[in-house]
């Protein structure tokens, strides 16, 4: 397990809800609710964090949530317990998941691949645990192709990398590089905040 990333997110857990629970969640919840409404089958939710996204889940699903940070999972536990379906939480690094091959029908992420240490390797690990043709549904922020925001995100990235996420990643290209077939990309805010829908290759 990447101890550097684990330490960073353990430290961030204390202030995570203060930063994200009010403004950010209220902005993004309608879009997340729409994305998560397609949940069905056996679901992996990656980087569950403090569990703020659980309020956007449709009821009655069977969801396995993982996160690299034990401190984050401590905060997520009451939210997972209150979910009106089956939800289990496990501390796990996406690069080193112990699930058998082809375990899940769907994988969901929410602002996850801005933080995964090696995004293409992490996404390749998702291909392994997804059933052939399984669905990847992501709510992510990325870099931009549009000036001046493209330049600003690149300049500000070293500061934000130390605080938590990277803000200039090309996650759509990473999804394709990992072998997923891209289905749909929907811009939520500029071309920075977006939903990405893709399917795992059919072997």
């Amino acid at each position: 397990m990447s101890t550097g990333a684990q330490k960073k997110w353990d430290a961030a857990a204390r202030a995570y809800d203060f930063v994200g629970a009010f403004g950010e969640e209220r902005r993004w919840r309608p879009h997340k609710t729409k994305l998560f409404s397609s949940m069905e089958g056996k679901i992996l939710f990656l980087a569950v964090g403090t569990g703020l996204d659980i309020a956007s889940f449709p009821p009655g699903q069977t969801i396995t949530g993982i996160d690299i940070s034990a401190k984050m999972l401590e905060k997520a536990a009451p939210r997972a317990a209150a979910y009106s379906g089956k939800m289990s939480l496990t501390q796990m690094d996406v690069h080193e998941m112990t699930f058998p091959d082809a375990t899940f029908d769907q994988v969901y992420t929410s602002c996850t691949f801005c933080s995964v240490t090696d995004p293409v390797r992490g996404l390749t690990a998702l291909v392994r645990v997804l059933k052939p043709g399984g669905q990847l549904r992501m709510f992510e922020h990325t870099g931009s192709r549009h000036f001046p925001f493209s330049a600003m995100l690149n300049v500000m990235n070293p500061i934000f990398r130390n605080l938590g996420p990277e803000i200039n990643r090309n996650t759509v290209a990473n999804v394709q590089a990992a072998g997923f077939k891209l289905q749909k990309v929907t811009n939520i805010f500029l071309d920075v905040v977006k939903t990405i829908e893709a399917t795992a290759p059919i072997k």
Partner: protein
Amino acid sequence: MMWRTYFICGDLLACSLAGAGTAWLVQALIPSDWPMIFGMALGMVLGMTVGTIASLFFTPLFGAMEVMLPVSLSAMVSGMWAGMAQTGTDRFFGLSDIDALQGGTVAGLACLAFTWLLQAKLRGNANIRRDTQ
């Protein structure tokens, strides 16, 4: 509807405050007898610094990227404008406090308007081949 109004007001407030605050700081720090190019460059750097700090302050209230990007742009553009105005208008008196605050507010609101126009253009389904990052 209530939250939409809240966020529109929040965006307006955050960008106008970031713009006004940056312009005031720049006119207070940069001597009016500097060459304009140095005034603009230092104004931009100060703007980027203020914009990053202001973004961290406004994020818990008004959201993440939706606030960070227009606020940072507002502060950077306002800083550049104030740096040029401070060094280019009057070599003895420079920019007044009121002029800096007014000009910075206008710069902030103009940057927010630019962001909203780009948002209107980009929102929705992206062209997977061309438009995705």
